[in-house]
Symmetry: C2
Subunit: 185 residues, 2 copies
DNA sequence: GTCTATACGATGATAGAC
DNA sequence: GTCTATCATCGTATAGAC
């Protein structure tokens, strides 16, 4: 019996955070009011506060949800028997960038600068993705380049570092691309 | 006569924006109130609003001031008869990163996501720095690597692109490094 | 759990003396 | 140009009915 209600609860939370990313993508973290999110989600103030203690907690939850989703997407591009090389991997990662998520992501970077909790989330996420990239590059070095596994592990780290930097730069660029959806200011 | 007063005015504006970056670096763009900036600058509300129409304009001015200052610093690292190679250039650029400015810079990225004016400032700044880097790399290719000028120009662009990505990633990392100065929440 | 209505605090901005 | 004092607005969060 807790099963079903627990699932429903999680569904509501997802409904809220998904509405939240859209709002944040439009007006930014602090400019979107709770009222904006109620309008976007179709729920009410009370309902939102039943699921999140306050706005900060909602932002954290939204950040976590978005970032782990992105990490999972990228992880999918990195595995398989024929691991892509660095260039191909980067191309796939770049292609997978969603403009709205990118905007929200960069806003989260800014918030991480000030809020230690968000900071931890962002650092964990970046470290996680970097690890995935490193593993992928290692596998590629071994399986298609024919390197020795031990040597590949060493070589992979700096390559992964560069791939990550290029990816983050692409993310930033996507976030800065003028928003098609007008910023009703 | 307008000379002197104009200079004084510019000095006041600098005094305000410098106090502003410190405040922004501490508490973030929207969490710092005008009161915070008056406290940090030693000025009063009225004085600030005599120089800037509103808070948004103050943020824009602060962003412009900080970003052009950074661009100038980087430009200095890039010229001379013995232009540094890409690795050395990146090392210098990274070493020149100021933690407070980095935090503010990343916050500005987030704001650029939403505010078209800030967006323009950030894009201009990134493009400007990239151009400086490209010129430096070109000069290096010609003067120390002995490449043909025409060929150097072509090769420099992608290298500059990578150097920029690595630099932006370092900037982000610096901004995410836990703040020593506590976030009086 | 979800709603409506509301209290309360914070802060951006202005007025007017000096 | 700079100050102090004040206003008005807005948005978070809560209370209480259903």
């Amino acid at each position: 019996m807790p099963r079903l209600t627990e699932a429903r609860k999680e569904l509501r939370r997802a409904q809220i955070t998904e509405a939240a990313v859209r709002c944040f993508g439009r007006r930014g973290l602090e400019r979107t009011s709770i009222a904006d999110i109620t309008a976007e989600s179709g729920l009410s103030t009370g309902s939102i506060y039943a699921h999140y203690r306050n706005k900060a907690e909602l932002i954290q939850a939204t950040a976590r949800a978005t970032l782990v989703e992105r990490a999972e997407t990228l992880g999918r591009y990195a595995d398989g028997d024929h691991p892509p090389g660095p260039d191909e991997l980067l191309a796939r990662m770049t292609a997978a960038i969603d403009p709205v998520a990118a905007r929200f992501g960069v806003q989260i970077w800014g918030e991480a600068t000030t809020d230690p909790v968000i900071g931890g989330i962002v650092v964990d996420m970046i470290d996680g993705v970097r690890a995935v990239v490193r593993d992928c590059v290692t596998a590629w070095l071994v399986k298609v380049e024919g390197r020795d596994p031990a040597e590949a592990g060493e070589r992979a780290a700096p390559i992964a570092h560069r791939v990550m930097a290029l990816y983050l730069a692409e993310l930033l660029q996507a976030a800065l691309r003028p928003n098609t959806e007008e910023t009703t200011s």
